[in-house]
């Protein structure tokens, strides 16, 4: 623990990180960042959240069939939301999930307005496309080159390369009003059918996180939040297709250019 704690100075040394085994292996952490580091992230997030309602061109946008307001991660935003999109952080998450370290990550800011509906149960285990020409120790999808979900080229020079989502991190922040009963938990499920088996709800307590290996079993969804808004930062790690199929065979949801 010491080596990582020393290399990521923003981590709270009193943070509690636990590996849970059911309904699938996942990690929950509380008091993740030191107070000052957390306060910076929350302030940056609140600025963008407030901009949603204050301007005609909000950064946060809805996606069809989903009540959440989202903004995809960009290089500029990633710098603002360090250390979460720093290569040291990526390395920590990869180690915790026992994944080969790859620089390809995606992410976003999510604001779920109060009164939103539950999301659909899904496992995140699907294709994700990056342009092969982009390099660095942290590589975010260049959405001007190719579609992240399908690999559809958007530029002549694009070289779409398929990866598979390998890990999901949800960092909860700016949820000071949240109380039990307010909703907005992340539900974890043993199967794709919500309501079958035990539902584990991860409360969106500020400065806590949920981390899990994406797999054919990592079923989860947002639970409706009648009590208050729910805010989070999401980050996905990726693996090569070869690595994914080596582990899970044909259970990977492949998405290709259509």
């Amino acid at each position: 623990m010491i080596s990582t704690m020393e290399s990521i100075e923003e981590l709270d040394p009193d943070g509690q990180w636990w590996v849970h085994e059911r309904p699938f292996r996942h990690i929950r952490a509380q008091n993740v960042l030191r107070k000052e580091a957390y306060a910076q992230l929350e302030a940056a997030f609140a600025k963008i959240r407030d901009g949603t309602t204050a301007t005609d061109k909000p950064q946060l946008q809805t996606r069809q069939g989903y009540d959440a307001l989202m903004v995809a991660m960009t290089k500029q935003l990633a710098a603002e939301f360090a250390p979460l999109f720093d290569h040291r952080w990526i390395a920590l998450l990869a180690r915790l999930l026992d994944l080969p370290l790859l620089p390809q990550v995606d992410g976003g800011l999510h604001h779920i307005p109060m009164g939103s509906r539950s999301g659909w149960v899904h496992n995140d285990y699907c294709s994700a496309w990056f342009d092969a020409g982009t390099e660095g120790d942290v590589v975010l999808p260049d959405r001007t080159k190719c579609d992240y979900f399908t690999g559809r080229p958007k530029a002549d020079a694009a070289r779409p390369r398929e990866f598979i989502r390998a890990g999901t991190m949800i960092f909860y922040l700016d949820n000071g009003d949240w109380r039990p009963g307010a909703g907005g938990e992340t539900g974890l499920y043993p199967t794709a059918r919500a309501g079958i088996g035990t539902v584990t709800g991860i409360p969106p307590v500020s400065n806590s996180l949920l981390l899990f290996r994406c797999s054919p079993h990592s079923y989860h969804r947002l639970i409706a939040n009648p009590g208050c808004a729910r805010n989070s930062i999401i980050l996905w790690l990726h693996e090569t297709v070869q690595h994914a199929t080596g582990v899970w065979g044909n259970a990977v949801t492949r998405r290709k250019v259509t």
Binding site: M1, T4, W18, V19, H20, L96
Partner: protein, 240 residues
Amino acid sequence: MRPVCVITGSAGSLGSALSRTLLATHEVAAIYRQNLPDVASQLRTPADLSGEPPNPGSRNQAYCIQGDLTNDADTRRIVEVVLARFGRIDVVINSAADIRYHGNLLDIGFDSDAVERQLVTNCVAPMKLVSVIFHEFWKHEGRANAQNNRCVVNISSVSGLYVFPSVGQSFYSASKAALNFLTVHLAYELSPYSVRSNAVCPVRFPESVPTEKVVSTVQEVIASHGTGEVVEVRRNSSSR
């Protein structure tokens, strides 16, 4: 092998605190109904940020068993699993409880069966668990029971000792008073087999007494040789 302690209601604040503390001296079988106990176990281990893989089989982890103690089949299965894993049971701490206040007695004619279920959870289920353990293990172990100072500790409440009017806790209070009497009856019945039975009656924790104080009182009762005692726990003292 370290002594084996079965703790019911281990996901509650007291049950989790007991589980964490007793892990230092006992193997702990942590029984829970819905939420996971707040203790290292085969289901929940501290993550090592240096990247070491989790080690679900290591020592100083409780062994969690899910079950509903108001269901007889679950109770028997729980005892079977504990004995299959550990081979013995030395201490049983009945801390599972329905702690709700169901309001005025004059209104229960229109209520559901909540009060009946409270009585079953708080008084009947602990006795059934002890009964199954007795028949599965303690019945023929008289000498070993004495050598290992085996015992039952029932977590009761000061509400089972005194009447606090006007707070709607009549059935909760009655269930704990019944548990106190059952504890003493149990002490008589277990006496020939050298198993002790005591109750611990804290005031509300952590508001009126620190949870740690309740835990340390339970430890003292486990280490003692008394039986048939009902121990009241207040902030600055414990009295029998």
